[in-house]
């Protein structure tokens, strides 16, 4: 650019050659009001026009309409099929719907039927189509458009016939789903290796397969004004407390949300205590765990499109239970449970105790240990709180990176993390070796917690306790624990105390022959699972 052009550029208007786009305020800000639910017309053209408008048929590429005629005796009726491409089975539509309706030019009828047909008032076209022509197993009638659209969107084919003020919805679902695989987040050594998938019906079928009993109820409801997501409520009619079932239904039916796309969203929408950082609903991808909890008197909620079942109510100690436990001898299982409870305490409190003891209560430590800590910290330029925050932050970064990067890089992240944190940081006198040990033990303890959401809350509480420990020592930690307990005791999950003595008592597994009672907090219809003597073969019959 020469001087002249530059001069021009400064003092003269030159149009911007690059296109810029700024999102303007939407002119079509639709009012937030419910749309009218219209009944289906008996006029074919009217129905078709309405469908064109509602489904934006001119621009919507996956909505398929197929016009044709049905001839019955001497009469011809205009007909229309509407379905969504990709979620319906073409073969089924061709063979079981279109063929029977179209292939015979004129459907011949016996004289008796002919007589009926001539007398139009007596002839029922709807019944005739459903009972005689459509050879599909699930056929439902929709009288209004809203219901009809819901069915079309979920894999039904809607048949509109001239003179009929209904739509005949014929199921032709063909939802593509992945195969049932092993659970990704809850793997076990012993026990079933199947997990839920994204298809609701497959998931309910897996539960039905395990609980082979007519008392298993699987009720359906819809959540989300826009998405109309199918949600299933599964419970044992003869075990689960009726009030609990009613409460779950009440909460699900009173959700005024536009969309529901995952079970995680639903969990946050129906939990009792919004400020509670602990999960209050168990989320599992295992059908066997779900079935066991249903049999214990709880309720499973399955969301279409989500491979996780939500189980209510979830109590604090449930999140320290692994699926493996019931497959083990109760002594081994209890040993692991105690280890997990201890590791939960370590994960929350260890860094806080370290910081408070080294800051306020050093007289408590044996002289040798105190000297070891002091000499290790001698060359560290930071106060202990900075040291801990640095380590915690680095650890969180490594963990987050480990989750986000492709699995091939996972190992590299681990090595880099271990080298940087474990070796380099200590050599560079940024952190003391004892602190590395403390953080490592804390991290390992946290990994033993079986529930993903539960370990999140542990991390938050750890930071809270570190702060208390730094400012107030053990005294502050005691106050923190006291607050923690007071808050925990005040929470309920679906009317059941979130943390109680009885849940502490019932945390440890009894021997299988002594495991007669269901959780007393759930107030089930059948508190006893089995008679006092379940192993009858051990007793001599007299």
């Amino acid at each position: 650019m020469d001087f002249k052009n530059k001069f021009k550029h400064i003092f003269e208007y030159t149009p911007n050659k690059e296109r810029t786009f700024l999102l303007p305020l939407s002119p079509n800000n639709l009012p937030q009001q419910e749309e009218k639910n219209l009944d289906i017309y008996d006029n074919f053209d009217k129905n078709f026009e309405y469908l064109k408008v509602k489904y934006n048929l001119l621009i919507n590429s996956d909505i398929v309409t197929r016009e044709f005629e049905i001839s019955i005796s001497s009469k011809t009726f205009k007909a229309l099929l509407v379905f969504v491409d990709g979620i319906t089975n073409s073969d089924s539509i061709n063979n079981n719907i279109l063929k029977p309706l179209m292939l015979k030019e004129t459907i011949k009828m016996n004289p008796l039927k002919q007589a009926k047909l001539n007398n139009v008032q007596k002839f029922d076209l709807k019944d005739y189509l459903i009972n005689r022509l459509i050879s599909q197993n699930v056929v439902e009638i929709s009288k209004d458009f809203k219901d009809c659209f819901e069915k079309i969107n979920s894999g039904f084919v809607a048949l509109f016939v001239d003179t009929l003020n209904i739509a005949i919805c014929i199921e032709a679902k063909d939802l593509k789903a992945r195969a049932i695989t092993t659970p990704q987040s809850e793997s076990v050594v012993r026990g079933p290796q199947a997990s839920f998938i994204e298809t609701l019906r497959t998931n309910t079928a897996q539960i039905r397969k395990i609980i082979n009993n007519e008392n298993l109820i699987i009720e359906n409801t819809k959540v989300g004004k826009v998405t109309n997501t199918n949600v299933s409520i599964c419970y044992m009619k003869n075990i689960t407390n009726d009030n609990l079932v009613a409460e779950v239904k009440f909460r699900l039916n009173n959700l005024n949300v536009d969309s529901l796309t995952s079970s995680g969203e639903l969990e946050n929408l129906i939990k009792d205590n919004i400020p509670n950082l602990y999960p209050e609903i168990i989320a599992t991808e295992r059908p066997d765990k779900t079935s066991n909890l249903i049999l214990a008197g709880r309720i499973a909620i399955l969301v279409d499109g989500s491979p996780f079942a939500l189980i209510v109510p979830g109590l604090l100690l449930d999140f320290l239970v692994s699926t493996e436990d019931i497959n083990l001898n109760n002594v081994f299982a209890n040993f692991l449970k105690v280890i997990r409870a201890i590791s939960f305490l370590i994960a929350i409190l260890l860094p806080a105790i370290y910081i408070s003891v080294t800051t306020f209560h050093d007289e408590f430590l044996p002289t040798e240990l105190l000297l070891a800590i002091t000499s290790a910290r001698e060359k560290i330029p930071f106060p202990i709180i900075v040291e801990i925050i640095l380590m915690e932050l680095s650890f969180e970064l490594i963990r987050e990176a480990g989750i986000r990067v492709p699995s091939a890089f996972g190992q590299t992240i681990g090595i880099v993390g271990a080298l940087i944190l474990g070796e380099a940081a200590v050599t560079a006198n940024v952190v003391s070796p004892i602190l590395v040990i403390i953080i490592a033990i804390t991290a390992i303890s946290e990994f033993t917690l079986p529930d993903y959401s539960f370990s999140f809350s542990t991390r938050i509480f750890r930071i809270f306790y570190i702060t208390l420990g730094y400012f107030f020592g053990l005294f502050g930690i005691a106050c923190g624990i006291f607050m923690h307990f007071s808050i925990l005791f005040s929470y309920t999950s679906f009317g059941v105390p979130f943390f109680s003595y009885s849940s502490i008592k019932e945390y440890l597994i009894k021997p299988i022959w002594k495991n007669e009672k269901r959780n007393s907090n759930l107030n089930t219809k059948r508190p006893l699972k089995e008679p006092a003597i379940s192993m009858k073969w051990r007793k001599n019959e007299k």
């Binding site: 408590f364 020592g473 005691a478 106050c479 006291f482 607050m483 007071s486 005040s490 003595y501």
Partner: protein
């Protein structure tokens, strides 16, 4: 029904009161009064307390759903109910103020020498505020959870020093003289001020029939704990316990006892562990007192959301705590005001109201007593 007390919850709450008072150095005040005769004095007072409690329980059998406030309304109408309620509220407020300051000042001296007491108290205030807002249901559960560890911490005082204490400190068993131990020492009965709970317990119980059982069990536990704590102090320090040990250092004698406890050669100074566990007891105790005040206020004025009263109640307690800026003031309040106030209120006013209520109830018939 949610806030009704079960057997263990009731015992835990009553035990919490006693353990808190042990931590707040009440046994030292007894020893100051009666010297080595404190054990004999306590045994004597225990018998009197048991007899007193038996009489109370027999009278309360007739008032299955009423506490002392209701009974005062029965005999003197709303006016007497108001007066009695205010007296109880003052008593509970005073107890909370003393508990707060008696615990915070030693902690400040031990661990936060250069810090303003308000800073040390802030976390304590936060914990009390949150716990009080969660209500009585949460408090009773928390009290039960920490009962075991609290009892162990008191018993550990006696057995923690590997026998390095001096048994000669216990003699002469009857103290200075008969008069000091049994006559002037009678004022030591205020250590049993947990008896106040028995006047409020009946309507709070989920099973009314458990009243007597709870009373005797809690009496046994509390009397044992008080005697154990007193023996511990006597064994460690010869009487009279020197002023230089406690007052000048503004440390409770019981704190000094914990400093001598050794768990093997590995853990030589365990006082911070005791402070850690005792914090739970004191917090529980103060939250209980706040809940008690809220309960009485609610009885008087019938609030829609009674938990909203806890914040103003705590504010008054905290405000009063910072009026006490000297240990001497604290001692005066504890030894001279609180002591006689407890005795007059529990063994005087409350007993008279209960007895009058019994006679009035018998005259009118107990079924109609409420009316």
């Amino acid at each position: 029904m949610k806030s009704k007390l079960t057997f263990f919850e009731a015992i835990s709450i009553i035990a919490t009161i006693s353990i808190a008072q042990i931590i707040l150095d009440f046994p030292e005040y007894l020893i100051d009064n009666t010297g080595t005769g404190t054990i004999a004095n306590l045994l004597f007072l225990s018998i009197i307390t048991i007899i007193f409690c038996t009489i109370i329980s027999n009278i309360f059998k007739n008032f299955s759903n009423q506490d002392i406030i209701d009974i005062s309304e029965l005999i003197g109408g709303r006016f007497l109910k108001f007066i009695i309620s205010i007296i109880f509220i003052i008593f509970l407020e005073l107890s909370a103020v003393l508990a707060f300051s008696s615990f915070i000042y030693p902690i400040k001296t031990l661990y936060f020498q250069n810090t303003h007491p308000l800073f040390v108290a802030s976390i304590f205030i936060g914990a009390i505020l949150i716990a009080s807002n969660k209500g009585f249901f949460s408090t009773k559960k928390t009290a039960t959870v920490f009962l075991g560890i609290s009892v162990i911490s008191v018993v550990a005082l006696l057995f923690g020093d590997n026998g390095n204490y001096n048994t000669n400190n216990l003699i002469p068993f009857f103290g200075y003289d008969f008069r000091t131990t049994f006559q002037t020492g009678f004022s030591n009965i205020y250590i049993f001020n947990f008896v106040i709970m028995y006047f409020f317990l009946m309507p709070l119980l989920s099973r009314k029939n458990d009243y007597k059982k709870i009373m005797y069990s809690s009496l046994a536990i509390n009397l044992s704990l008080i005697i154990i704590a007193t023996i511990s102090i006597l064994l460690y320090y010869p009487t009279p316990i020197g002023k230089e040990l406690s007052t000048l250092n503004s440390l409770n004698t019981i704190f000094l006892v914990t400093r001598r406890i050794q768990i093997s050669s590995f853990l030589s100074q365990t006082d911070s562990i005791f402070v850690f566990f005792w914090s739970f007891v004191i917090l529980n105790y103060i939250v209980l007192l706040v809940n008690g005040i809220v309960y009485i206020l609610n009885k008087l004025f019938h609030y829609e959301n009674k938990q909203k009263l806890s914040a103003p109640t705590i504010s008054i307690i905290i405000g009063s705590v910072f009026f006490i800026d000297r240990i001497v003031q604290l001692e005066f309040l504890q030894k001279d005001i609180f002591k006689y106030f407890s005795i007059v209120l529990i063994f005087g006013i409350s007993s008279i109201i209960l007895i009058l209520g019994f006679f009035k109830g018998r005259k009118k018939g107990f079924k109609n007593a409420k009316k």
